[in-house]
């Protein structure tokens, strides 16, 4: 082969390689493989969250003494490099593994759980206090009750729309048949009351293995109908308790409303710029071991550490007022209000925070207790009060207005040891001088 022919061949091969390589670079469809996984639906401190533990994950985590759901499944998994996670393609295969889930503590079998129906229900207006999980017959009964409630709601919604239509028709008729200003308002039809939002949430009945265990370390495995251990089903299970409960405040500065700062410790002080307006958003919170909690929600997490803790903020604290005591002895009670963030007209960025008005605004951007921090009254103490006016434990915080403009003085304070050194040096010099004088005299 001549040199020119060889060069041409090499060029064609390079171009072909680039072309095929380019095509391969566009497609991102990782290979799927059949695997046994544990799908979990676990109590996260407020509601239930779902996760998937592929075969590589050796340990599962869940909160103690709460009903959690373990669903061993066969599915197709694939590695997704963008998030560095194995994911399940449930649409290709989603098969519940039937048999018994066995739980061991050391070598002792402590529980053998059969496959059961379960249903999770809660009121989204107050999930923490309304969350229920039904198992077996209870699950079916709960779902039936939910269906009945939903049907009744649909019925009342239908009735409302009908009444609304009738009201509008009657109103139109009055407008057509009467001159403006001639109808006595008392003769006008009464507008029907709108039906509130349906806040009850429920899952459909599903089949899985419910587990509620005391704190401890366990081993779980699946045994199929023939009593044979299902491959890849043996995993460690860490059941952990929440370490502490409390009340957190998300402190939303008016001029940075998307960047709140959380105050999770009851003894933490909130320092603020003079003249700032802040909005306090109280919520329930729980303290957990960082690794246990994070891996419960994301079994493939690698970043969390067992020697650290993590505060988890839950739902907004319902039905409360905020008592604000100033350093001057003033005491005020603030109500939780909605606020609307209005973008300013023009091409530049800018916004103003307005009190929410349901008549003119669609929905509030956020809710909170507003506090205008005056530079003249630099210490505030805030505390949440419940519906009966009683202080809520752990909700007290101190807010102090920081003297930000005194930053340069902090550096001047560093001269303190040099000043002391100078005094010592001068005293020493005088001492030596007096000794010299005495010796000379």
């Amino acid at each position: 082969m001549r040199t020119s022919q060889r060069a041409l061949l090499v060029m064609i091969l390079i171009l072909f390689g680039l072309a095929t390589g380019g095509n391969a670079g566009h497609a991102q469809s990782p290979e799927r493989e059949r695997a046994f996984v544990y799908a979990t639906t676990v109590f996260d401190g407020l509601t239930y969250a779902s996760a998937m533990a592929p075969p590589d994950v050796e340990t599962l985590y869940m909160i103690a003494d709460r009903q959690n759901i373990i669903a061993p499944r066969r599915t197709m998994i694939y590695y997704w490099p963008i998030t560095n996670r194995f994911l399940a393609d449930w649409s290709l295969l989603n098969e519940v593994v039937e048999g018994e889930l066995e739980v061991f503590r050391g070598a002792d079998l402590v529980l053998s759980v059969p496959l059961q129906d379960y249903v999770i229900q809660y009121d989204s207006a107050n999930p923490l206090e309304t969350l229920r999980i039904g198992v077996g017959e209870d699950a079916l009964a709960m779902h039936e009750a939910f269906e009945a409630l939903f049907a009744a709601y649909r019925e009342s919604l239908f009735d409302y729309y009908e009444a609304e239509q009738a009201y509008r028709a009657e109103l139109d008729e009055i407008i057509i048949n009467n001159e403006p200003g001639t109808v006595d308002p008392e003769d006008l039809p009464v507008r029907p009351e709108p039906v509130g939002e349906f806040t009850i949430k429920s899952t459909d009945p599903n089949k899985a293995y419910p587990l509620s265990l005391p704190e401890g370390r366990y081993t779980i495995l699946m045994r199929d109908g023939n009593g044979i251990v299902v491959p890849d089903s043996r995993r460690s299970l860490v059941v952990f308790a929440q370490l502490q409960n409390g009340v957190a405040y998300s402190v939303v500065p008016q001029s940075r409303w998307t960047q709140p700062e959380d105050s999770v410790y009851p003894d933490a002080v909130i320092y603020a710029e003079p003249g700032a307006t802040v909005y306090l958003q109280p919520s329930r919170e729980s303290l957990f071991n960082e690794l246990h909690y994070t891996r419960m929600l994301d079994p493939q997490d690698q970043a969390s550490r067992e020697d650290r803790t993590r505060w988890v903020l839950h739902d907004p604290y319902p039905n409360t007022t905020l008592r604000v005591s100033g350093a001057d002895g003033s005491v005020q009670e603030a109500e939780l209000k909605g606020y609307f963030v209005q973008q300013l007209a023009g091409s530049g960025l800018g916004y103003e925070v307005l009190e929410f008005n349901p008549e003119t605004m669609q929905r509030s951007s956020f809710e909170g207790f507003a506090l205008e921090l005056s530079g003249n009254n630099p210490v505030y103490r805030v505390e949440l009060l419940d519906e009966d006016g009683r202080p809520i434990l752990g909700s007290r915080r101190e807010i102090r207005v920081l003297n930000i403009d005194r930053g340069p003085h902090v550096y001047a304070l560093a001269l303190l040891p040099l000043a002391i050194g100078a005094v010592v040096y001068l005293a020493r010099r005088r001492q030596i001088a007096s000794v010299d004088t005495r010796a000379g005299g």
């Binding site: 003894d267 700032a276 690698q302 970043a303 920081l402 040891p417 040096y425």
Partner: protein, 286 residues
């Protein structure tokens, strides 16, 4: 006239000798410029940390903290104690280098009294500087309108235990390392290693949190190795113990607080007695 118990007399003489050495060491430090400059540098660095907090508050409008002064106090303790430990390392090893230690030991001073005196001298200087730090922290609290906390005073008292460990460790290295320069190099390297592991652990953990790593990511291995190393270092390093004691104090975990303080006192005793043992073993000549 009754004769004193010989054992008691021996210890009284020892204490007297140690006290004389302590006075000499502390006076030498107080009349020098070094400690004032060292504390000035420490407070400037602490002021940078406070300045950062102020800048953060200015930009973020709010800043939430349980004890904003604890970090500057920790920085101050680290710098001052390292400086004093280096001074004590040099003092002790140069006495040996110059042969004055041999002369001292021929007289009424034994190895224990010599080391104890030097140790107490530097500790006295640290306690005085802790008092200055207390005044500084109160001025800072007043100036910036921070919340006054008795915890700062408590932590400054406990920081004396941390300083005791570092000073005793400096003397241990002086006895172990031999010549002044060698001892100083050993002390610097070990201190850098211990502080470096803690810093690296914090930095790598932060990087891991930000990078969403996979199971086989080499960063995870580095993080795990550093975390394991730090797991040991946190029980050895007096700064880690002081930090844990501070955390225990704000968490109101007083049992942990006293445990970490106790560990620091134990470490100081071990290093001090270890240096006495090394002096006896290696002798007073270089």
């Amino acid at each position: 006239m009754t004769k004193a118990n010989p054992w008691l007399r021996h210890w009284r003489d020892r204490w007297h000798a140690a006290n004389c050495i302590q006075r000499r060491a502390s006076q030498s430090a107080f009349y020098g410029l070094g400690i004032y400059v060292a504390m000035f540098v420490a407070l400037v660095i602490a002021a940078v940390s406070v300045g950062n907090t102020l800048n953060f508050t200015e930009q973020n409008i709010v800043f939430v903290s349980r004890q904003p002064i604890f970090l500057p106090v920790l920085i101050n303790t680290i710098i001052i104690s390292i400086y004093l430990a280096m001074v004590s390392t040099l003092n002790v090893s140069s006495e040996r280098d110059q042969g004055t230690l041999e002369t001292l030991i021929q007289g009424p001073v034994d190895g224990f009294a010599f080391l104890l005196g030097n140790f107490l001298g530097q500790l006295k200087v640290y306690a005085a500087l802790a008092l200055v730090a207390f005044v500084w922290s109160n001025l800072l609290t007043w100036l910036l309108h921070l919340q006054y906390s008795i915890g700062v005073a408590v932590v400054l008292v406990v920081s004396i235990a941390a300083a005791a460990v570092v000073i005793a460790f400096g003397m241990f290295i002086a006895m172990w390392g031999g010549r002044s320069r060698t001892a100083l190099i050993y002390f610097t390297l070990i201190t850098l290693l211990v502080v470096g592991i803690q810093l690296a652990d914090q930095i790598v953990t932060g990087v891991v949190l930000a990078s969403n790593p996979a199971v086989n990511d080499p960063l995870i291995t580095v993080r795990n190795v550093l975390a394991a190393a730090n797991g040991i270092v946190r029980w050895v390093s007096p700064y880690a113990q002081l930090d844990l004691a501070m955390t225990a104090y704000v968490d109101r975990a007083f049992l942990d607080f006293f445990a970490h303080t106790g560990i620091m006192l134990l470490q100081a005793a071990v290093f001090l007695l270890g240096s006495v043992w090394l002096l006896e073993r290696k002798g007073v000549r270089d």
